[in-house]
Symmetry: C2
Subunit: 643 residues, 2 copies
């Protein structure tokens, strides 16, 4: 039974709560008590008798012995097995032990249990946490299993904070993220290997926790002893724990209650008989209730987030509006972004007021050209700005897409703008304008600012801007920041070619850990009448990863832009200054062919180039420190924007 | 004119000597003076007037200006250009300068000069050394050039020892190898990017120098001021320099004399008129003469090295003698290896003496079985051992290859061994022997010891060995060591697939830098009558790189074996204990998918597994430190040996 409804939430976004149980060979009863009676949604159930050791079996039994699994496959229906049981692999296994017998027993048992779980069509198995700092043999064995696995997921249990009990030097706390990082590197970032985080009573720093949201975390096991007790004696969680659980809900991470009840439940016995059901007698029911309460009290998703929900972490190729003509559907979508046009209208109003003093408002007509007018939203914003400021306007609407021009014509007719608006069906780079403009309005920005070739287009268009004319936008800057993004990395990798690793993608970033604040990359200012101007750019950036993050892995760079439309009116998606409620742009993602590991408190140096050829513009990028990556996308061989 | 002949050397192995010259627009005279007159073989000649700067050219000249190259393409014949001139790119270029104009000028000039060199069909161009510690923009530009280059090589000039002149902190000497390593990483190990080492008067440590022999060094520029003066006033080199130059000769690295004459050449003017030719008047001729002298006095290549010369650094797939039957040619080659059979004969003799006391020599017949008898060399060695020791022998020669059995039969007939030798045409794992053996002789070893499945074969064969019987070999151990091997890495990479990166190759290692002494990996002992024995193995090794090596790159692991035939008689290819003059085995090479960089004085941890399935045996390997590699060859998906 899901954790109840959350306002404005899609049914498909229901969240469930599981329970970790000990070995019990009466599976039907185990399910009945914990699910039907207590209300948990699934069990994390031990599959094999924990006393089993292959080396202790009679080798002479010659096929007569039966492996001590918890019941046969027939004790539950196939759908019960697959929907309600996640298999828990024997926790005693230790493939990196010094003891060779234990190592051999562990490998045999692990393979037998996975084979059994596969036979039962379980959706996932929980692998016990690696015992020591080294996990190569464990990873080798799991990697072998992954090569031939059906669709089952393997969840590697990782304690959120791990202290090395064996270590004499008490400073030597192992960063458990590093354990995961080693393991998944050894297993080549296999997409069926994911994490089950074990949440304990103490939590690492927020930066350290943040890394996990870029990782494939599928479940969070909350130990009962990480709960506090509220005034009425019921379990509750610290504010930091609550925030973490909310993060898990937001990232579709399953919650699992683990451990024995540590609360005496005063309420249960005092409740009135009417409410006193079996369910409430289950000792762990109060923990489930509390998790459900946390879920239900979450704020509903805002409209924009709901709209963008389906795009989360989904890689899209950036538009090529210069080479390709946009489709009606695309115009339709972008024109709905009121916030953007309000910002344009504010910028145009300010420019009109600056350009035309009040006393000349009725005599002076400002020539405004919208270059890349599309189906007309910026024409409308311009006319509204004129009306708002009481300035007289003459508008040229220049658009290269003949299909959009059709719509533009009917808009002008419909709105009776014929005397004010002249439609020009032409590429702005080639138009022979009949007069010069006071204001040049354009919206040619991509997620990374210049990546839809706004600089090249406006270089062409500024021919018909007066020397003292205004360009809206007057400048724009791209930004990047290093991110952990396992999901994106695996999606890129799944294409198994170089091209996809050297391509930038438009993507609604969600399961991503941002490792350092973003920094500016390239800036373009318009108009730029310098004779020596070039649109080539080269930038070298160094990002310091906060030392309390611990080690981190960089799968690539998230890119954004911020545009100054006019004076203090800006527009952008750079996280710290992003224009609220604007949905026209997702971020851009530049992948790295090989993820880069960063040591605690250390930095990553990255170089970005914007290169221009005769028929295309492209980016190249590389990491120079802590290790050198190859230069990505040399000569734009994999990804480029056509002129 | 080559540097003369070296004893026992192939003509194709002639060595040449070049000369670095300053800019001179009279190319014909430059060639005539330095090559025809003085005797150098080629010039490293500046292509462009060093005062040229693109930004200083009149931008209004509108195509009227000519780039200031050293003469037109017509001043030399095409073959003169391509055989006698290596282009030297303007040494002032600095693509990583803070000065943007200089950066832009540098990029423009570099591209113009490379285009000119391509036009002239030069075989190579020398790129100036990166100016500072950072070289990303330089590498980006060179990488762009490499993407579209014809067959021309680019030699990056790297000083053998570089001190950072700009550095305030005098301890901060830059390891110039790191500069090269950064550059080539950024350029993805491109096969046309190589090194021209600039040898100066001081040399780094032997370990530091050793790294370069695993790199694609094409030329060594010897500065005249690195020469000393001998008693007669002539230039000569220190012993360490001499040794280095000899190393260059052995690795086909071209020598280039660089700089002005710093010796007053007393001999030149005192020489008798008869010898007083123009050639001797060239101020740099004594340097050339000295280099030629060093070449000519080198020892001739030993017979075995000459035989193996053609196999140097050439990747071969290991034999699969168990799955495939060897061909006659293969038997022919291996049977020529006298040294190997002498060792076997010594081992068998010792075993016979131990087994049969002198007093029973005439009464006791020892049963000896040669398993994998091939065409009979071990049968012969056994009979010779019997003769040598005066022991009586009964020999069974077991061979699975029916084609080899044909030869075996005729050998036995030819040598009249019919009464002593019984031929058994059967796989040793399935043979039902009529009696048990005292001595089991086999030679089933691969370059990595167990990699041709000797353990599995002998497990099958030991059924018919007496409980107190002797196996020859009695044990064997594999060894590995980390190596720099650019050539091998690039050859593996050229296949552009995963399979080749997860395959072990048999290879005559030559252009390889061995970074640490080899360490034992897996040992097998025979006979092994334990009931719990397994041929699976797991080994974790840590190699310390000597701290005076500096940083290093590991492209993979060189593998060897050593076998104890009997007591103190061993046989093997592990470098420190290798059996001299034995040529049956080259080393084995396990590549890494991503080369691993090791910081100075640091170590590399590697894990190797020998895994056994029902129909195959395979290795898996990974690097666990300083960073995690993926596990290579999981489940033997890329490389395995069939049972």
């Amino acid at each position: 039974m899901p954790l109840g409804e959350r306002g404005g939430w899609d049914k498909s976004e229901s969240r469930y709560c599981g329970l970790e149980t000990d070995f019990n060979d009466d599976m039907p009863n185990l399910l009945s008590f914990n699910l039907s009676t207590a209300g948990f949604d699934f069990l994390l159930a031990t599959l094999m008798d924990p006393t089993y050791r292959p080396s202790l079996m009679e080798s002479s039994s010659n096929g007569a012995c039966v492996l001590p699994f918890a019941g046969s496959d027939l004790v539950l229906s196939p759908s019960q097995w697959s929907s309600h049981v996640v298999g828990k692999i024997s926790s005693w296994i230790d493939l990196d032990s010094e003891d060779e017998i234990l190592r051999m027993d562990s490998e045999t048992t692990l393979k037998q249990e996975i084979a059994w779980a596969t036979h039962l069509s379980l959706q996932a198995c929980l692998l016990p946490s690696p015992k020591g700092a080294s996990c190569a043999n464990y990873a080798r064995c799991v990697n072998q299993i992954l090569q031939g696995l059906n669709s089952m997921q393997l969840w590697l249990r990782i304690p959120l904070e791990k202290t090395d009990d064996d270590s004499v030097d008490s400073d030597q706390t192992i960063d458990s993220w590093e354990l995961w990082n080693s393991f998944r590197h050894l297993c080549e970032h296999h997409s069926q290997l994911s994490v089950a985080l074990n949440v304990l009573s103490s939590l690492p720093s927020a930066n350290s926790l943040g890394r996990w949201f870029g990782e494939p975390v599928r479940a969070a096991l909350i130990n009962t002893d990480s709960f506090l007790t509220n005034a009425r004696g019921y379990p509750c969680l610290s504010r930091r724990h609550q925030k973490l659980i909310t993060g898990f809900f937001n990232h579709s991470i399953q919650i699992v209650i683990s451990g024995k009840s540590v609360h005496s439940l005063p309420g249960a016995s005092l409740d009135s008989a009417a409410n006193h059901t079996d369910a409430q007698r289950h000792p762990l029911r109060p923990y489930l209730d509390y998790v459900a309460y946390l879920y239900q009290r979450m704020d509903p998703l805002p409209e924009q987030e709901r709209f963008e929900h389906g795009y989360r972490d989904f890689l899209q190729s950036p538009l090529q509006p210069l080479m390709d003509n946009l489709e009606a559907q695309t115009y339709e979508t972008f024109e709905k972004d009121c916030v953007k046009y309000i910002q344009y209208q504010r910028a145009i109003s300010k420019a009109l007021l600056d350009r035309v003093p009040d006393e000349e408002a009725s005599s002076l007509t400002t020539v405004l050209m919208v270059v890349g007018a599309g189906r007309g939203p910026l024409v409308r914003a311009s006319l509204q700005a004129a009306e708002e400021t009481g300035r007289k306007l003459k508008v040229y609407a220049v658009e290269k897409n003949p299909n959009a021009v059709v719509t533009l014509h009917s808009l002008v007719k419909l709105e009776s703008w014929e005397n004010i608006v002249t439609i020009v069906s032409c590429d702005m780079r080639h138009w022979d304008a009949p007069e010069k403009a006071d204001i040049l309005v354009s919206e040619l920005l991509g997620s990374f600012g210049d990546n839809e070739l706004s600089p090249e287009c406006l270089d062409g268009a500024q021919r018909f801007l007066k020397q003292d004319g205004i360009s809206i936008p007057s400048s724009y800057t791209s930004f990047i920041q290093p991110v952990t993004a396992s999901k994106l990395y695996n999606d890129v990798k799944s294409h198994k070619d170089l091209v996809h690793f050297e391509t930038a993608y438009v993507v609604k970033l969600h399961s991503v850990a941002k490792l350092a604040p973003s920094q500016p990359v390239f800036t373009f200012t318009h108009p730029n009448f310098s004779t020596k101007k070039s649109n080539q750019r080269y930038k070298r950036l160094r990002f310091e990863i906060p030392s309390d993050t611990g080690s981190a892995i960089v799968h690539g760079f998230a890119g954004y832009f911020d545009a100054i439309l006019y004076k203090d009116v800006h527009l952008g998606i750079e996280p710290s200054t992003a224009t609220p409620n604007m949905f026209s742009w997702f971020a851009i993602f530049f992948p790295l062919r090989t993820p880069v590991c960063i040591r605690p408190g250390s930095s990553i140096e990255v170089h970005f180039w914007r290169c221009c050829g005769s028929s295309k513009v492209w980016y190249e990028w590389c990491v120079a420190s802590p290790c050198q990556s190859p230069i990505h996308n040399s000569n734009g061989r994999s990804y480029w924007v056509g002129l």
